[in-house]
């Protein structure tokens, strides 16, 4: 058996492009094999000859034949990905990793907490929820961005906010007077959530410190740490647990995660340089 990481990278066509913010774009990539995916899983995308990066699926798991990725340009690979346009080809392999616990969340309340680009993998969650709204009880979506201009999926969030069956809050770290919403870190919204802690599942994605604060607030709210899920980020090269880079304690973030129950990962998040 040849380890999966070492299988040929399929080249796929980019079929859609949308600029979200100054440094972030959403690409739609054709997926004829339509293997299906779970919200929270990711692909390894390779712009030809530039390298490879782990990029979450940000689109609708229900949409066949196409996969959306939302990419923030922070370095050479993500810059090259961001410069792709419909008709271009990109190397892609995946989906990889353990996604969000959609099953566990079914039938209860759901709290989604996203910071920055962390909204990308959670957008799949919200979309799946909307597609099967009856399977969840109360659903709260808390979104934080550094500034209004950095807020992703603005049109879509506007639509979410228009729905009565979603409790959507958006906050920014700083903004000028034209911003009508709250200016605060996203975790401040947590204590105000109107959910039933015992029957809630929380899904959190954002910078590591933000996730720790969020998890602490969620616990305070009464959601137990094994029902709080975080999506971790580590240096990742193979995506199938054979290159060693993404290890964090006993976990390979690529295959045991990236989504992990906070109860399991928290002890390691608490230790310096793990």
């Amino acid at each position: 058996m040849v380890p999966v990481a070492e299988v040929a990278v399929a080249t796929r066509e980019v079929i859609g492009f949308h600029r979200e913010t100054e440094d972030t774009v959403t690409l739609t990539i054709e997926d004829r094999e339509a293997r299906g995916f779970l919200p929270g899983q990711f692909f390894m995308l390779s712009p030809f000859g530039i390298g490879e990066s782990a990029i979450s699926i940000s689109g609708d798991p229900g949409r066949p034949g196409a996969i959306e990725h939302t990419i923030r340009s922070v370095g050479m690979v993500t810059a090259a990905l961001s410069s792709l346009r419909p008709g271009d080809r990109v190397g892609a392999r995946g989906p990889y990793g353990v996604g969000w616990p959609m099953e566990a969340a079914t039938g209860g309340d759901l709290v989604v907490v996203a910071g920055g680009i962390g909204l990308a993998p959670l957008r799949s969650v919200v979309r799946q929820v909307i597609g099967a709204r009856h399977r969840f009880r109360r659903v709260a979506v808390l979104i934080g961005a550094r500034a209004p201009s950095e807020l992703l999926f603005q049109q879509e969030i506007h639509e979410w906010r228009g729905r009565f069956d979603l409790d959507v809050h958006v906050t920014v770290d700083s903004a000028d007077a034209s911003w009508m919403g709250p200016i605060d870190v996203v975790t401040r919204l947590i204590p105000r959530m109107d959910v039933d802690p015992a029957k809630s599942v929380a899904m959190v994605c954002g910078p590591e410190v933000m996730m720790r604060f969020a998890a602490a607030d969620l616990e305070r709210l009464g959601i137990s740490s094994d029902r709080i899920y975080v999506s971790m980020e580590r240096n990742m090269q193979c995506a199938v647990g054979v290159c060693g880079h993404c290890q964090m304690g006993p976990f390979f973030i690529c295959k045991d995660g990236p989504v992990l129950p906070y109860s399991r990962i928290a002890p390691y998040m608490g230790v310096r340089e793990t």
């Binding site: 030809f48 090269q237 054979v242 060693g244 290890q247 006993p250 230790v271 340089e273």
Partner: protein, 366 residues
């Protein structure tokens, strides 16, 4: 030690190794065996019997390796050298794929690079390491032909007994040799697989006399008894499951973070991939290279390493080997070969560091 009845046992004269090598070569295999190379007895491709380091052995200590003559003229006098089978099992540099911009990206990783190989002289720890490494990287065992050698004179850095991987061999090889010099210098040889038995039949030899077989058993057993110290795998696994970030300063002051331990370890599997392109940008290649969790850039995230201090890198390595490996792959990541101890330029000894970690946890518990 329970060893299953082997398919056949023969006593071979020492020179029979020449025929064994030739027979493996006739079968189209490249033979890898211990040979003298640049000052050490190490695994490498050999052509014939003449390439074996007959009459030479090595003394090993933390950070120290010295060739010494073996007056008894053994073929397999030296235990493990710097190279392990990992070099062929998971080579240091592999083209993962290559392709043209307008075409696809073509996989290049050979299905199994080892199938045409034969190893002669792997030890119990080496065999265990092959299983552990295959398991870790999700590879099926290769069909490389393996002639193992049981250790009768382990070095001071060996601790296979504590890890349960040697010095006797009961699985993972086609043929097992015990080289004895008393009552006579012969190779007590048994086959563990049908193809091993076929090979042995080609070599001739005689059924063992009781004395020879007893000597072989006794010497391996004595070697096991004589091997002191080592690592208490359970205590280490427990102590390192949730390691504190403190307590590593001492080893950090000594550790060079040079990565030698991970490079020589037969089970360490960390790699890094790099892409290359032709100047016109039309062709690209992705190469996978051995890397090490001791490299500062290994954990780079958002431009900064997650594990910046040397202490945290040592902690990662040892915790992974001795503890988290159990969670991940159901065994220890260390097979007790001692390579990392010998080939650490400053002689850091995983046995001592593990004991220190266990001790620290013990102290905390009190």
């Amino acid at each position: 030690m329970v060893i299953p009845r082997s398919l056949s046992t023969r006593v071979l004269e020492v020179e029979a190794i020449g025929r064994l090598i030739a027979a493996l070569q006739e079968d189209g295999r490249t033979v890898i065996a211990p040979t003298l190379r640049d000052g050490a007895i190490t695994l490498d491709v050999i052509d014939s019997f003449a390439d074996l380091p007959v009459g030479l052995t090595a003394e090993m200590a933390p950070g120290r390796y010295q060739l010494v003559p073996d007056p008894e003229g053994r073929l397999f006098g030296a235990t493990v050298g710097p190279a392990s089978a990992k070099r062929w099992q998971r080579p240091p540099e592999v083209v993962v794929w290559s392709g043209r911009k307008d075409g696809g990206m073509v996989a290049r990783v050979p299905d199994r690079s080892e199938s045409q190989l034969a190893y002669v002289g792997l030890r119990g720890c080496d065999l265990a390491a092959r299983r552990v490494l295959d398991r870790a990287v999700g590879a099926r065992p290769s069909d490389a032909f393996i002639v193992a050698v049981e250790c009768t004179r382990p070095g001071s850095t060996c601790f296979c007994v504590s890890m349960g991987t040697g010095p006797g061999v009961s699985e993972g090889a086609d043929v097992v040799i015990t080289e004895i010099v008393e009552p006579a210098h012969v190779l007590v040889t048994r086959a563990l697989t049908p193809r091993g038995a076929t090979l042995l039949a080609r070599l001739g030899g005689a059924p063992p006399k009781g004395a020879e077989e007893d000597a072989a058993w006794a010497q391996v057993a004595a070697a096991a008894r004589a091997m002191s110290g080592g690592i208490d795998p359970d205590a280490a696994a427990a102590a390192l499951r949730m390691p504190s970030a403190d307590g590593w300063d001492d080893v950090a002051a000594r550790c060079l973070a040079c990565g030698n331990c991970t490079m020589v370890c037969p089970t360490c599997f960390c790699t890094t991939t790099v892409d290359h392109t032709t100047p016109d940008g039309l062709e690209a290649t992705r190469v996978r290279l051995w890397d090490s969790c001791f490299s500062l850039g290994f954990t780079e995230l958002h431009g900064k390493p997650v594990r910046a201090s040397i202490g945290s890198r040592y902690r990662q390595w040892m915790s992974h080997k001795l503890s988290w490996w159990w969670d991940q792959f159901g065994s220890s990541g260390c097979v007790g070969c001692g390579r990392c101890i010998v080939w650490c330029p400053v002689g850091i000894d995983i046995r001592q560091e593990a004991a220190a970690a266990v001790e620290r946890v013990g102290v905390h518990a009190k």
